[in-house]
């Protein structure tokens, strides 16, 4: 991943910054330039809550190349409190114990090592709450 592509996502990946529409209150993550609900164009920067629940999940056994050393790993659609949804790995637990409805919280973790130099890319992963 080229550094500019990684760098510009840092506010979202490190601090989970989202955009709250000044018109209708819809929270977009990642932030957008136009509100998908009311088409408003003014936003307030907010941080997403770190608590949420699993809506659905899978355990990846056949990965894309960048994740070939990590299988099997669990990944889920998580609805954070307040309603914003993310796709995130669920770690620090046996994947077989994950359930729909389970409470989780996000933590700051290493996500990928990229390129020959092994540049470390960080972001959020979920752990059981």
């Amino acid at each position: 991943m080229f550094s500019s592509r990684y760098w510009r996502e840092i506010p979202q990946r490190y601090r989970m910054e989202a955009a709250k529409c000044s018109g209708c209150g819809t929270v977009s993550f990642p932030p957008r330039l136009i509100c998908p609900k009311c088409k408003g164009r003014t936003f307030e920067k907010v941080r997403l809550p770190d608590q949420g629940k699993v809506l659905t999940y899978t355990v990846i056994h056949v990965p894309a190349t960048p994740f070939k050393d990590e299988v099997p790993f669990a990944i889920a659609v998580v609805e954070l409190d307040g309603g914003v949804r993310i796709t995130s790995q669920v770690v620090d637990c046996d994947p077989a114990t994950i359930r729909i409805g389970q409470r989780v919280r996000t933590e700051f973790r290493k996500l990928q090592e990229v390129g020959d130099a092994g540049v470390l890319c960080y972001g959020y992963k979920c752990v059981p709450a």
């Binding site: 996502e9 990642p30 809506l55 659905t56 999940y57 899978t58 355990v59 990846i60 056994h61 056949v62 990965p63 894309a64 190349t65 960048p66 994740f67 070939k68 990590e70 790993f73 990944i75 889920a76 659609v77 998580v78 949804r85 993310i86 796709t87 995130s88 790995q89 994947p95 729909i100 996500l111 990928q112 972001g123 992963k125």
Partner: protein
């Protein structure tokens, strides 16, 4: 708008075609379609291809393929909507003929997927999802559909056996299709016992990695008799819709709204509803996708798709035959070519050329092609001319 007919089809057997290049498989099928239609010239060509850039390192496909087909300087347009690129190519060609811009249009789909290894193919397919907020975290395409399957199991009580029945049916149909990549029949036990790809989906729930192409010839209906000796098949409905690119942003995680919307538009244009359809090809990239697609198309009620295969409803002799070709599951899934091959199967069904897998008295048929995890879908409705 002019009425549009399909007067020629061309397809070769799909598979791991290591001895052939992308341009070879394209030209072979394009020539077959032209021969089938009985035309020796075209006014324009449209090519659907998802990712020749990542799979073979070649872009600018319109020119490459017009050149190698010996048709330069005709206008050539490449279109892309991930795995729905073939369906979008048909829609683009349909609009070109309907508008009066061109009379004879060659529409193709092509994908050459086995020049890269499995991990890189998985990566390339992942570009149809949200790269930054889905794939970046390690999700794969089977993984996205596995999450749909898990959510649907939770909501509607879908069993592992009911899911496997979709693969069993489609391989049964594909065993009667000489062009299918994997014509072998499979049992429920084999599907359930096959290796895990993304829990709960196993390898026999997944469509394969395939090299392949498919081509059709479109022309105005009122010129069809003059242009070709084949009985024309009319395109009476075309619908196209999009949805959020990230699966997690969809309000209902068990529903494919782009499919429902595209179908609604196609039914409206055709002036018919789901009851009027005799044969259906849907985008069964994974077993769960067929269940969600037939629900979104209105062929069965929400939550009832789960038993459609196991009860025989969607078998060739059933009330709503789905994927008589064997579907993506058995026929293969060269992503950009799939949407065109679906329509070829239905043209052959409507012409009554399908032999052992023929749906009796088929007069009207529907094809549903899907991009990504449902970020786009294209639906076409065909009728005997």
């Amino acid at each position: 708008m002019r009425e549009v007919a399909i007067v020629g089809v061309g397809m070769t057997r799909w598979g791991e075609l290591w001895e052939k290049s992308l341009r070879d498989i394209y030209v072979e099928t394009a020539l077959l379609a032209m021969e089938d239609a009985g035309v020796d010239r075209i006014d324009s060509m449209v090519v659907g291809c998802m990712s020749s850039g990542l799979f073979v390192g070649q872009e600018h496909l319109g020119s490459v393929l017009a050149d190698y087909l010996g048709q330069a300087p005709v206008p050539a347009t490449r279109v892309e909507s991930a795995c729905a690129s073939g369906g979008l190519a048909i829609r683009t060609g349909f609009m070109e003929v309907a508008s009066g811009m061109s009379d004879i249009v060659l529409v193709s789909g092509v994908e050459k997927m086995t020049d890269v290894d499995g991990g890189d193919a998985t990566y390339a397919l992942g570009t149809a999802a949200d790269q930054e907020y889905e794939c970046y975290h390690g999700i794969t395409f089977p993984g996205l559909y596995a999450m749909m399957a898990r959510a649907y199991m939770h909501q509607y009580g879908l069993t592992r056996e009911e899911l496997a029945a979709v693969a069993v049916k489609n391989h049964e149909n594909g065993s009667k299709n000489p062009l299918a990549q994997f014509p072998m029949q499979v049992t429920i036990e084999q599907v359930i016992g096959s290796v895990l790809v993304a829990d709960p989906l196993r390898i026999l729930d997944c469509s394969p990695i395939t090299d392949g192409a498919a081509a059709i010839i479109l022309c105005p209906l009122d010129q069809a008799k003059k242009i070709s000796k084949n009985r024309p098949v009319k395109i009476i409905g075309s619908g196209h819709a999009t949805d959020s690119i990230a699966y997690h942003s969809r309000e209902d995680l068990t529903s494919l709204e782009a499919v429902a919307k595209a179908a609604e538009r196609a039914y409206k244009m055709a002036g018919v509803g789901p009851d009027a359809i005799d044969a259906v090809e849907v985008h069964d990239c994974f077993t769960i996708a067929e269940i969600l697609a037939i629900e979104a198309l209105g062929l069965v009620e929400r939550g009832k798709g789960r038993t459609a295969a196991s009860s025989g409803l969607t078998a060739i002799g059933g009330k709503i035959p789905v994927n008589p070709s064997g579907g993506l599951k058995s026929k293969g899934h060269p992503v950009g070519a799939t949407g065109v091959a679906q329509v070829i199967e239905l043209v052959k069904q409507l012409r009554g050329e399908c032999g052992e897998r023929q749906v009796k008295n088929a007069r009207r048929a529907l094809a549903q092609n899907m991009g990504g995890s449902g970020g786009s879908s294209i639906v076409h409705i065909l009728e005997v001319g």
